[in-house]
């Protein structure tokens, strides 16, 4: 099969690889129909995630058609169209039984502390091959995949695999009360869905912070939020305080992660010298912007082993910090209902589609955020 493969920081190519096969009785093999490029794939591309081995295939947000089934798979049939969560979860362990599918303890031999197994996200999350390929192996097929309703298209549900539930969980972890002010750092795909989810949860004001004018414009059009371009102010924290009556926001959401712009020091330490796991500027701004007693929700991806974070400020302000990888499976039925009933139109954020052969070009475009790029989707079966 053809698949995207990683060849060192900044370098991905489409290569020939052996087809995946059933390795476990609860596996299925999917023919991938859509595979999105996620912002967190850029962390892999830039060599920031430890144990990213040469030749691995990225991609943790995809839809596909079931081609092969393991002998113990009960809920799927050959030919079913499915959307797959990025987490690989057993459904039976201590954590899965409590709804913490992102923390499953039976799918990632490489770490107890990081996450469950994840598709296409380095050997730090188990080394499972990702979906930016013609075919992909999906373990625990009775737990993860969700059948796509017949009257819905793949692209309508594609983002149920990661960014839509992640954005929703970000807002949910902010414990938003009716009328509260929510600041969302990052206006990429996850940030956009966090903003939208904040409205669904009754926020009174939603403010999007980013530095890319096209993304802020898109946020205004898509979500009707207020925006702040932090490149256009001297001090974004002071500007946000000013916008929130001097007190700060009730809820701040970090939808940026480890490659944040905005602080030369953080970038030099984290991305240049690698003395910390990337730049934690967005967390710092969340903590500094939230009002006393407010909530900070973190869904931006950070890696081990540590980051410079103003934890003393958080403590002294009495903040509640909540974070996790998204427990995707919990959100799928609820968000599917929102999509069907027209409250969320995830397809609108797709700005570019590429056949798999042009995946390196798609990565370059997404990385540079040029041509108004919000979200790139790959079409491994080439029907672009």
């Amino acid at each position: 099969m053809r698949a995207l493969a990683y060849f060192g920081p900044g370098k991905v190519k489409v290569v020939r690889k052996p087809d995946p096969r059933i390795e476990h009785p609860q596996d299925v093999v999917l023919r991938v129909t859509r595979a999105a490029i996620c912002g967190s794939d850029l962390h892999l591309l830039h060599g920031l995630v430890p144990d990213t081995r040469l030749g691995c295939t990225f991609g943790h947000e995809f839809t596909g058609v079931v081609e092969e089934l393991g002998r113990d798979v009960k809920t799927l049939r050959r030919g079913d169209r499915v959307v797959v969560p990025f987490n690989i979860s057993c459904g039976r362990c201590f954590f899965c039984e409590r709804g913490l599918f992102a923390n499953c303890e039976n799918t990632n031999p490489s770490s107890n502390d990081i996450a469950s197994g994840v598709f296409g996200y380095s050997h730090t999350t188990g080394g499972f091959e990702g979906g930016q390929a013609e075919y992909v192996r999906v373990p625990f097929a009775d737990v993860g995949p969700t059948r796509i309703p017949e009257d819905m298209e793949d692209e309508e549900v594609l983002f149920l695999g990661d960014i839509l539930p992640t954005g929703y969980q970000a807002a949910e972890m902010g414990e938003i009360q009716k009328g509260e002010t929510v600041v969302v750092f990052g206006s990429g795909p996850v940030g956009l869905f966090a903003q939208l989810s904040a409205w669904l949860m009754g926020a009174g004001r939603v403010i999007a912070v980013d530095r890319v004018p096209e993304r802020l414009r898109f946020a205004r059009e898509y979500n009707g939020v207020e925006t702040l371009n932090f490149d256009e102010v001297d001090d974004p924290v002071l500007a946000l305080r000013e916008m929130t009556g001097g007190r700060g926001a009730d809820v701040c959401i970090d939808a940026v992660g480890m490659e944040a712009e905005g602080s030369t020091l953080e970038r030099a330490l984290g991305l240049g010298a690698k003395l910390e796991a990337g730049a934690a500027t967005a967390i710092a701004w969340c903590i500094q912007t939230a009002r006393k007693g407010g909530n900070v929700s973190i869904v931006g991806v950070y890696g081990p082993p540590w980051n410079l974070v103003p934890i003393g400020t958080a403590m002294n302000k009495g903040l509640t910090l909540r974070m996790n990888q998204c427990n995707v499976k919990r959100y799928v039925p609820h968000l599917l209902k929102h999509i069907r009933e027209g409250r969320i139109d995830p397809r609108r954020i797709i700005t570019h589609r590429f056949p798999l052969e042009r995946a390196p070009e798609a990565y370059r475009l997404f990385e540079t955020r040029s041509e108004g790029c919000i979200k790139c989707v790959l079409l491994p079966q080439g029907e672009a």
């Binding site: 057993c90 031999p109 009754g202």
Partner: protein, 138 residues
């Protein structure tokens, strides 16, 4: 330091409280609340689980009580980078050395791969040159 405001765009829209836009105001209507619910297996989770036997070497973090139920057979540890990775996996992950060694292994793997490609190219050039010389001498 004076605050400079953006020229426009800070207050562009009123909240779009259209029909259905505030469906999830009630926290109990939110699917992840509480984040940790009463323990119950996922309804379609397998009743009987087979532990996958890996076909290649799979590195396991120290401190795991039992093997993972599923593993990946992709990109097993190989060569010099593989040796570094094996060493890293003898150190628990709460020690930064574990992660530093893994990052070092990543960088080494890239260098070795590129060096191998250049060496292959150089060997090809030398071979071609030798053949041409031999033909010339004939």
């Amino acid at each position: 330091m004076p605050i400079r405001y953006p020229p426009d765009g800070r207050r562009t829209h009123l909240p779009p409280h259209g029909p259905g836009r505030i469906d999830d105001v009630d926290p109990t209507a939110r699917p992840g609340v509480p984040m940790e619910h009463r323990p119950e297996p996922f309804p379609t989770a397998p009743e009987r689980v087979v532990v996958q036997r890996p076909r290649v070497e799979v590195l396991q973090i120290p401190g795991r009580k039992k093997p993972a139920w599923v593993v990946s057979n992709a990109q097993p540890p190989r060569g010099l980078a593989g040796r570094l990775r094996r060493r890293a996996f003898r150190i628990p992950e709460h020690h930064p050395r574990h992660w530093m060694l893994l990052l070092a292994a990543d960088r080494l793997e890239v260098r070795v791969s590129r060096a191998r490609r250049w060496l292959g190219l150089a060997a090809g050039v030398v071979a071609l040159w030798t053949i041409l010389r031999a033909l010339e001498e004939r």
